[in-house]
Each structure stands twice: as structure tokens, then as C-alpha cells.
């Protein structure tokens, strides 16, 4: 547990000292969302209708673009090799890294999402559901994304590759995340969708650290 806390603290400190990273993710999210009114036109009804989908897709892309920094820098300067050799279980250390990634990208996105929802004219009934769905969905994105980030260590053109690997696996989160908000906007209970999202999160939490640790060990061979 000490190792887990130490790595969490280290990654958070690195993210805070370098600073720009979290801000960049949120900026990317806001800019991408802003593009849609230009693309589909500023008509209020249309924007309100597509708001939940637009916010989810932008959040997905923002989470994906920040995946590189989970392992890449540590891989290049050799830190990852030392982590692999350490007596603390690698799965636990990876869980710490993923949690740090979520705290620096997922959490700011959840805070920024209602702002974008207001700008896209989404009905107020959906706000709470949107935030709860993102609270369940974004950790799953970080967990699943870590597998992809570990698989591409040492690959050529890794950045493009990670999108091809990770986005298909993100689709279930997108479907149920947008579906939950949609249900809330229609006045139906969104419990079913939220429960499925919780199930996805638990499954990812149980399986992803092992798959990621396996991929990291392969990259070190």
C-alpha cells in the first residue's frame, strides 16, 4: 500500500509541477466541444438534442490523447524498468498510476462538462446524471486506456496506433454514458444505464491492471 501511495503522490506531483498537462486536456475538451456548433449550426434545439453525445465524444478523445503520459516518459528514462523490478506488485503500482491519471484528467473533465452542457443548451434535468455517468465512466476510460498505452510502448507511430486500439474498447462506455443522459432528459430513470456503467467500471478495475502489468513486462523484455 505504501508503494501505491508513493507512486500516486509522485505522479500527482509531477503532473502539478509540469502544470500545463491537465489544463491542456480541459482546453482540448472545450475546444473540441466548441467546434460542433460551428459544424452543425447554432440552432438551439439541435444543439440541445446532441449535447450529451458531443460531450461524451469530446471527453473520450481528451482522455485518449492524454494516455501517452501514463507510461511514455517513465519508459524513456528507465523508471518503468525499476518499477517492474521493485518488490511491490506491479499491478498495484499501475493502479496508482491510473488513479493519478484519472485525478489529473478525468476529474477536471467532470468539472468542465456541466459548463459545456450549459453552452450547448442542454436541459437542466440531465446535469446531475451527466456528472454521475462521467464519474463512473471516466475511471473506466483511464483503466482501459492504460492497457493500450502499455501495449504501444516502443512502437513506431505509437500515438496514432493507440487511437485505433483504444477507441473500439471505449465504445460501450460511450453508449451507456450518452444513453444515461438521454434517459434523464426524457424523464425516465437512468438507473439501468448507470448500473451497467458501474459494472463496466468494476470489470475494468478487476481486469485492466493485470492486462496492463502484463503488457508493461513484455515491453521491458
Amino acid at each position: 500500500m505504501n508503494g501505491f501511495l508513493a507512486i500516486l503522490q509522485r505522479d500527482l506531483r509531477l503532473a502539478l509541477r509540469q502544470g500545463a498537462d491537465s489544463v491542456m486536456v480541459v482546453a482540448f475538451f472545450i475546444v473540441t466541444t466548441t467546434l460542433f456548433p460551428f459544424g452543425v449550426g447554432p440552432e438551439v434545439n439541435i444543439l440541445a438534442r446532441i449535447a450529451s453525445g458531443v460531450i461524451w465524444v469530446s471527453a473520450l478523445l481528451a482522455a485518449m490523447l492524454s494516455l501517452e503520459r501514463v507510461f511514455q516518459a517513465d519508459y524513456e528514462d528507465g523508471t518503468l524498468e525499476l518499477l517492474t523490478l521493485s518488490p511491490v506488485s506491479l499491478e498495484l503500482l499501475i493502479l496508482g498510476k491510473v488513479l493519478a491519471h484519472w485525478l489529473t484528467t478525468g476529474l477536471p473533465l467532470i468539472i468542465a462538462a456541466p459548463l459545456m452542457a450549459v453552452m450547448l443548451n442542454m436541459d437542466q434535468d440531465g446535469f446531475v446524471t451527466l456528472m454521475v455517468a462521467m464519474l463512473l465512466g471516466t475511471p473506466a476510460l483511464s483503466l482501459i486506456g492504460a492497457i493500450g498505452a502499455a501495449l504501444i510502448l516502443g512502437a513506431r507511430r505509437g500515438g496514432v496506433l493507440v487511437s485505433l486500439l483504444v477507441l473500439p474498447l471505449y465504445i460501450p462506455v460511450l453508449i451507456f454514458g450518452a444513453g444515461a443522459v438521454e434517459a434523464a432528459l426524457l424523464g425516465i430513470s437512468a438507473t439501468a444505464q448507470l448500473q451497467i456503467m458501474a459494472a463496466i467500471l468494476l470489470l475494468a478495475l478487476a481486469a485492466a491492471p493485470f492486462a496492463t502489468a502484463h503488457a508493461v513486462r513484455q515491453a521491458m523484455e
Binding site: I147, L151, I152, G154, A155, R156, R157, G158, L161, L164, L165, L167, P168, L169, I171, A211, H214, A215, Q218, A219, E221
Partner: protein
């Protein structure tokens, strides 16, 4: 099973099978095409367009079958480190991707006259499209490393993670109420397809499956031979004109044995 994981045993074992399997594939697909295009009745509602089914359904079956095969090969290569399992998984991916694409294209051609649209975002269609993306991601990942060994290992892990999608494709029509019809062949109370249509469908499915195994054997043999040639080039035997023919043969055998020992 582990006995066949040796490349040399695989080559020896498949050499006599290959011509028979190829002949069987040709016969099955020829008979299947005859019955599906000429020897089967026209559907009372769909007319001749029903014949698209005899390509569409086997292609969909092969798309899933190849993915399961690829995931099993991936698991075998991760657990027992068989080099042959890696080669099989690599050889399967393009075949599976082609069948999945074929399934999507024929489905689209069938959907236009029947549903009045080329594409709908229905659960079955979407999950099949994701399957195609998974194949493409696998192929891109496997070829993205300078060290082919590392590429295969990363690919195996991805194939296993992506296997989550296979049951989603299979049961999507039961879980979501969609435009695509529910399962009509593999179900608890027997197939719901008319017997006159079952025969061509069964022939085509068997034919496509045999075709896959023929292509798999050919691709694995090709890969093994390529590796052997590379090993010989590295040892410099080919470049030296002074080397007597018997020494070349010896080197060939040596390469063969070295591979078998892996």
C-alpha cells in the same frame, strides 16, 4: 497438441493434408454455390435477394470464428510461448478481417432492397464494425515494432482483451431490440431456416471454414520459409559462391533444426 507446435512437425503433418483440404474446399464451395444460386427456392417475400444470405451468413460466421481462433492462438502463445501460435494468430488476422468486411458489404447490399437503407446503427451491425476495427488494430499493432517477437506478444494481449466483443456480437440481437433479425440457425429449439435453404447454407459455411484452414496452412508455411531464408541470409551461406551444394543443404537442415528447437 504441444507436439504439433513444433514448426517441423507442423510442416510434415500439413503437407499431405493440404491438397485434400484444397480439393474439399473447391468441391464444397462449388456445390454450395450451385445450390445457393440455382438449386434452392426463391423466398416468398424477398425474391432472389435471399441468395445474398448464402455469402453473408457464412462470412459473418467466419469473422467471429477467425477472431476466436486468433484469441485462442494468442492465449497459447502467452501461456506456452509456442512460436507457431504467434504465426497462426498473425496469419489469421487478415483472413478474418476480409471475411468481416465481406459480411458488412454483403449485409449492406442486402439491407438496401430489404430495409431500404445501406446502413443502420443497429447493435449487430455496429458490433460487427467494431470487430473489423479490432482486426485492423491488431494488424497495425503487430507490425508497429522493429522486433517482430514484441509485436506478436503485444498483439496476443490485444486479441484477448478484444475477445470481450465476440459474445456482444453474438447476443446483440437478443439483448437489444433491433432491426437485424434474431438468431435463426444456432438456437435452442432448432434452426428456423427452411430445410431447402439449410443445405446450401451448411455447404457454404463448411466450404468457407475449409478455405480458412487452407489459407492458414499456406500462410504459416510461407512465414516459416521466410524465416528460414532470413536465417540463411544472416549466416551468409547464399552469398558465397564457393560454398558447395552439399554445405548449402546442410545449412538448410541446420536452419530447419534450429527452428524446431525453438
Amino acid at each position: 497438441m504441444h507436439r504439433f507446435a513444433k514448426p517441423s512437425v507442423f510442416l510434415k503433418f500439413t503437407a499431405p493434408i493440404l491438397p485434400w483440404l484444397s480439393a474439399l474446399t473447391v468441391i464444397l464451395i462449388a456445390a454450395g454455390l450451385y445450390f445457393s444460386l440455382i438449386g434452392s427456392p426463391v423466398d416468398y417475400q424477398q425474391g432472389h435477394t435471399v441468395r445474398i444470405m448464402y455469402i453473408h451468413v457464412p462470412a459473418a460466421w467466419m469473422g467471429l470464428f477467425c477472431y476466436v481462433g486468433m484469441a485462442i492462438c494468442g492465449a497459447m502463445s502467452l501461456i506456452w510461448k509456442h512460436p507457431l501460435a504467434d504465426i497462426c494468430a498473425r496469419a489469421t488476422a487478415p483472413v478474418g478481417a476480409t471475411f468481416t468486411a465481406l459480411c458488412l458489404i454483403t449485409g449492406s447490399l442486402w439491407g438496401e432492397p430489404m430495409w431500404g437503407t445501406w446502413w443502420v446503427w443497429d447493435a449487430r451491425l455496429t458490433s460487427m464494425l467494431i470487430l473489423l476495427f479490432l482486426y485492423l488494430g491488431y494488424m497495425a499493432l503487430v507490425n508497429a515494432f522493429d522486433d517482430p517477437e514484441r509485436g506478436s506478444k503485444a498483439g496476443s494481449a490485444l486479441a484477448l482483451v478484444g475477445a470481450v466483443n465476440v459474445p456482444i456480437v453474438k447476443f446483440s440481437v437478443d439483448w437489444w431490440n433491433t432491426l437485424h433479425q434474431p438468431a435463426s440457425i444456432v438456437r435452442m429449439d432448432g434452426p428456423a431456416v427452411d430445410p431447402s435453404m439449410q443445405l446450401p447454407l451448411a455447404l457454404m459455411i463448411l466450404g468457407f471454414t475449409c478455405y480458412y484452414f487452407v489459407v492458414l496452412i499456406l500462410r504459416v508455411r510461407l512465414e516459416l520459409n521466410e524465416r528460414r531464408i532470413r536465417a540463411l541470409h544472416l549466416s551468409g551461406m547464399f552469398e558465397d559462391p564457393e560454398t558447395p551444394a552439399s554445405a548449402k543443404e546442410q545449412a538448410y537442415e541446420a536452419g530447419h533444426n534450429a527452428e524446431a528447437k525453438q
